[in-house]
């Protein structure tokens, strides 16, 4: 297997360059600088795709090794060994063991933390025994140096049998040498690190024969992992299972023995390769910092402070770019509508472009949130947060790592659900994904603001505590409590598939790498636009059609009716237009829907008008305000005060104000719980790879919303 000559079918060539593209996989321990190296090699030439069957992103990128030679770089999830401990780590074996040879990478670059070589070499020795051509990228040489670790590169290269490149990926040192090296033909090492023990030989030989393998160690992995190998048929799996049964194969024991044997061997190698010169006389800086940052009082205070800062940023700072996007979309629509007209133009402006605007508007919040998350993760602080929160979260069936999705859920459930990927345990992760949309996201704010302004007086206590603010905070608290309690419920209901681990490396504090932060922001925003955006735009268009067309000539009749009424009342041109819009919405398909569901929502205090708003805001909650404005013929571009005044003057059948506190609070509670967000459903479907979870969420949250809103309305009125 050589890097530069790959027997590809000639017609598969897309590039006119006559060099085939080599496929290089990046593999290494978590925190070994793999991401930095990937970013250094590929820059912005990255693509995010999916590995089949799992949720981890497949990051690939093109790197120009030499001016003539390009290579495709595949970033694999960080792992400590070739025995996967989580679903996502399985993509490594799926890729490396693929029976179709050309699907396998031509070469792997193993990243290793030079300051902690022993543990990092475990994975390398496994790859070496598979006889996969490899290069060892000895990363973080600077850290090793300051810690007094001296590595004899020549000796290491000789003992491992592969090229070793000392480097510092964060600063780009060693990248050029690595590129030149991997552009040459490389073969696998000749050195064996682990011999298959005699008692396993019969098993290994039979597997080799059945699957025509020529590598002992690969055959051993078949024995250990046959259940999880995607390319094995059911028949194959049964065969392996029977063989192992007959041979009395004990997977766990054999794996443990192998790992210990490998460490013994690695220790031998490192004995004359690594010297630690400086004794550690002083406590590490990280440890000192931890005494403050994970302190039982200061630790939580600092964390709260940081959260406060993140909230501020997501709410306050993001509003400026969001306003710009909003105005930009409105201006664009205005420009098009001034110059063109017709039903297609209406579809374009009010359906497509408005839907796109609804997607783009979230980007500032997603970007800011992930900037913070990326910085906290890069510096190593996030590990401390999970450390401090684990015991508390565990009580509710969650995990220390659930803190990030739950917090992110306050901005938007879509990126939050995406960030639950770091949780390895299936059950913990499903619970986290399930309850995250209950956290009060920013799309609920417009709904909350209008309704609170409507029924809660603007009173101040102690000069600074605003009653409306307190109610808003109460709704956030309600979201948080319902999330936590639902988690508790699920903890009892769900059966665990695998054990929950918390064992993780505690990274030392570092300065964030700004390039990585930037790339994270870019990637998450792109993922949101691409994944959720499609569905949001599609549903927006459907809902627009429902609200803009009615059966038969109902629209014309609605207009006539409105014009006649306007004449009687002597309304001006703008008010007449608003009235027409209101009557047309009433007679549209959406209006029919609202009237159809009125019996179901009457116990909650809603009429068919609110029914329409419930339907249109199913795509996104904030649409509620817009629909309400139209249906009560308030017209566009009105501020909260105007909407509020109009709604206050709305009367019910008996002439009393329609929006009583009971109705408004019933609506508030409904929106606090209901899964009124098609984007979240779409992203949950993608993350869980099944419709079961999003549908369960939809039923659970809507049910909870219905029951709670019913209780609130009945108790208050």
């Amino acid at each position: 297997m050589a890097v530069t000559i790959e027997a590809e079918a000639p017609e598969a060539k897309k590039v006119p360059v006559h060099q085939p593209v080599a496929r290089i996989a990046l593999i290494g321990n978590p925190n070994s600088g793999k991401t930095s190296l990937f970013n250094q090699l590929t820059g912005l030439n990255q693509k995010v795709g999916n590995f089949p069957g799992v949720t981890v992103d497949k990051k690939t990128g093109i790197s120009h090794l030499t001016p003539q030679l390009k290579a495709q770089i595949i970033d694999l999830p960080g792992s400590y060994s070739l025995y996967p401990k989580s679903l996502d780590e399985r993509v490594i074996i799926d890729l490396l063991y693929d029976p179709v040879l050309k699907n396998r990478p031509d070469l792997v670059i193993v990243t290793a933390d030079a300051s902690n070589l022993k543990r990092n070499l475990l994975l390398f020795t496994q790859l070496a025994d598979l006889r996969i051509p490899a290069v060892l990228a000895l990363n973080m040489m600077d850290v090793a140096e300051t810690e007094g670790v001296k590595i004899d590169i020549e000796a290491l290269q000789r003992d491992l049998g592969v090229p070793v490149i000392p480097m510092n990926a964060r600063k780009g040192i060693g990248i050029a040498a690595l590129k030149i090296l991997v552009s040459q033909q490389l073969s696998a090492t000749e050195v064996a690190f682990f011999e298959v023990p005699a008692n396993l030989r019969p098993t290994v030989e039979q597997i080799k024969e059945r699957f025509s393998l020529n590598n002992d160690y690969l055959a051993l992995h078949y024995a250990h992992q046959y259940k999880h190998l995607r390319f094995l048929s059911e028949e194959d799996k049964v065969w392996v299972a029977q063989l192992l049964e007959a041979q009395g194969f004990r997977s766990t024991t054999e794996q443990a023995n192998e790992t210990i044997a490998r460490y013994v061997r690695i220790n031998e190698v490192l004995l004359d390769v690594v010297r630690v010169e400086k004794a550690k006389e002083e406590e590490k800086f990280s440890n000192k910092l931890d005494q403050i940052l994970t302190h039982r009082v200061y630790g939580y205070l600092i964390f709260m402070g940081l959260l406060f800062l993140v909230f501020q940023a997501v709410f306050a700072w993001a509003s400026y770019p969001m306003d710009l996007i909003d105005e930009g979309i409105a201006a664009l629509n205005g420009l098009i509508q001034e110059n063109f007209s017709g039903p297609l133009i209406n579809l374009l402006t009010e359906g497509v472009i408005a839907g796109l605007g609804g997607v783009l508007i979230f980007i500032p919040q997603i970007a800011i949130l992930f900037a913070f998350i990326a910085i906290l993760e890069e510096t190593g602080y996030m590990a401390r947060v999970t450390f401090m929160m684990d015991k508390i979260m565990r009580k509710f069936g969650l995990n220390g790592k659930s803190v990030v999705p739950l917090i992110s859920g306050v901005a938007c459930a879509v990126p939050a659900v995406m960030s639950a990927r770091t949780i390895e345990n299936w059950k913990d992760r499903m619970i986290t994904i399930f309850v995250t949309p209950l956290m009060s996201c920013s799309a609920r704010i417009p709904v909350y603001t209008v309704l609170i302004a409507l029924v809660v007086p603007e009173v101040y206590y102690f000069g600074f505590m605003n009653l409306q603010g307190i109610v808003l905070m109460g709704l956030y608290l309600l979201g948080f409590l319902s999330a936590i309690l639902s988690a508790l419920l699920l903890k009892v209901l769900l059966k665990a598939r695998e054990r929950s681990y918390f064992i993780m490396e505690f990274p030392v504090y570092r300065m964030p790498r700004w390039k990585n932060v930037g790339l994270t922001i870019f990637e998450k925003s792109k993922a949101f636009v691409m994944e959720a955006g499609k569905i949001i735009v599609a549903v927006s268009i459907i809902l627009w059609v429902m609200a803009s067309y009615g059966p038969g000539d109902s629209f014309e009749r609605a207009e006539e009716r409105a014009v006649a009424e306007a004449e009687v009342k002597g309304l001006g041109e703008e008010q007449t237009d608003n009235l027409i819009a209101s009557y047309q919405l009433e007679s549209s398909y959406a209006g029919k829907f609202g009237q159809a569901i009125e019996p179901a929502i009457r116990p909650l205090g809603y009429d068919w008008k609110i029914g329409i708003a419930l339907l249109t805001s199913f795509a996104a909650r904030e649409v509620f305000v817009g629909t309400i404005s139209t249906i009560y013929s308030i017209g566009e571009e009105e501020n909260v005060t105007t909407i509020k005044d109009k709604l206050m003057s709305e009367k019910d059948a008996d002439g009393n104000p329609f929006f009583t506190p009971a109705r408004a609070f019933s609506l508030l509670i409904f929106y606090a719980f209901a899964m009124q967000c098609i984007s979240t459903l779409a992203i949950v479907r993608r993350e869980t790879k099944s419709w079961t979870w999003p549908l369960a969420q939809l039923v659970y949250m809507t049910g909870l919303a219905y029951v709670s809103a019913f209780a609130v309305f009945q108790l208050m009125s």
């Binding site: 025995y83 543990r119 024991t253 460490y263 994970t294 450390f387 015991k391 681990y501 490396e505």
Partner: protein, 105 residues
């Protein structure tokens, strides 16, 4: 109603924390058959003799907790769980019931 529910859950939560503490106390008092990382005081070190949970052992072994290695209890989270340990010059964090499976000489 809602308040009572919340208060009730808080109480349960506090109870369970306390129960945990009692279990720990009992364990350290009565059973001294074999010391584990759980029994170390902060700053104290020990040598790993074996790992008594086969499944957990695989993960711990990969992370460098091999029999014979020296392990030091570095710190504890505010509620006493999880803890951080230092093995092979790097820091690992793990839960108490995971630390318990690392037996010492």
């Amino acid at each position: 109603m809602q308040y009572r529910g919340t208060a009730c859950i808080l109480q349960l939560f506090i109870n369970s924390l306390n129960k945990r503490r009692e279990i720990v106390r009992n364990r350290t008092e009565e059973s001294q058959q074999q010391k584990s990382v759980r029994d170390l005081r902060i700053g104290e070190s020990g040598e790993i003799s074996s790992l008594n949970d086969p499944e957990m052992a695989l993960k711990l072994l990969e992370m460098g907790c091999i029999p014979g290695a020296e392990v030091k209890l570095n710190s504890k989270a505010p509620f006493g769980d999880p803890v951080t340990i230092i093995v092979n010059d790097y820091t690992l964090s793990l839960r108490l019931d995971e630390a318990e499976t690392i037996l010492l000489k």
